[in-house]
């Protein structure tokens, strides 16, 4: 059971570079999320998706883009990387938001990004 797979685990970027964080899940979950975790700040929602072809902004979307062309994949694109984007990024998925599935998220192991 792979669950939620994130790549890469670590990456160092120079200011102004771009990159894509990959996220894939094999649980046929409709809902997928990207969070960033900064020290002492908890997790902040960047973008989320309720199904293929549907995405929406979270609390901190500036500087990021997402796409959801398939149920399985939810890549996060960083354009023109800035030091403020240094963080640990977590992808997560869930079966749904009704009572039975009620937001039990399965998280990936995280991607640590440093922008210098």
């Amino acid at each position: 059971n792979a669950g939620v797979t994130q790549t890469p685990k670590f990456r160092i970027l120079k200011i102004g570079q771009s990159m894509t964080l990959q996220c894939a899940q094999d649980m046929n979950h409709n809902y997928m999320y990207w969070y960033r975790q900064d020290p002492g700040m908890g997790l902040k929602l960047i973008y989320y998706s309720v199904g293929a072809g549907i995405t929406d902004k979270g609390e901190v979307p500036n500087g990021y883009n997402v796409s959801r062309s398939t149920t399985e994949d939810f890549p996060l694109r960083l354009e023109l990387a800035a030091p403020s984007q240094t963080s640990v990024y977590f992808c997560a998925s869930s079966a749904g938001t009704g009572i039975s599935g009620a937001n039990v998220l399965t998280f990936g192991a995280g991607s640590r990004l440093t922008v210098l």
Binding site: Y33, Y48, A109
Partner: protein, 115 residues
Amino acid sequence: AQSVAQPEDQVNVAEGNPLTVKCTYSVSGNPYLFWYVQYPNRGLQFLLKYITGDNLVKGSYGFEAEFNKSQTSFHLKKPSALVSDSALYFCAVRALTPGRRALTFGSGTRLQVQP
């Protein structure tokens, strides 16, 4: 808007003693409430949730949490702490209303259990 407060950055407890990790929340209407745990260099793992019904919820690894609507709290508890419980704990909330489909997380509380 929905929010979660975890007032303690760190909780220290001796092995075998009871532990409590505090959480208060703010939402419009009735909440869904969750606890997640994060071990070093790992993603978050689900511990337990409150949706409706009994205010005392039991979860994984012997943890439980008590929902208190009047105090808008959802404190995590365990009767007897283990060294292996040392980790970062996150409380999360979501309103039952449609439209807001994602969880809001607290800032986390680091639990240190001393042998």
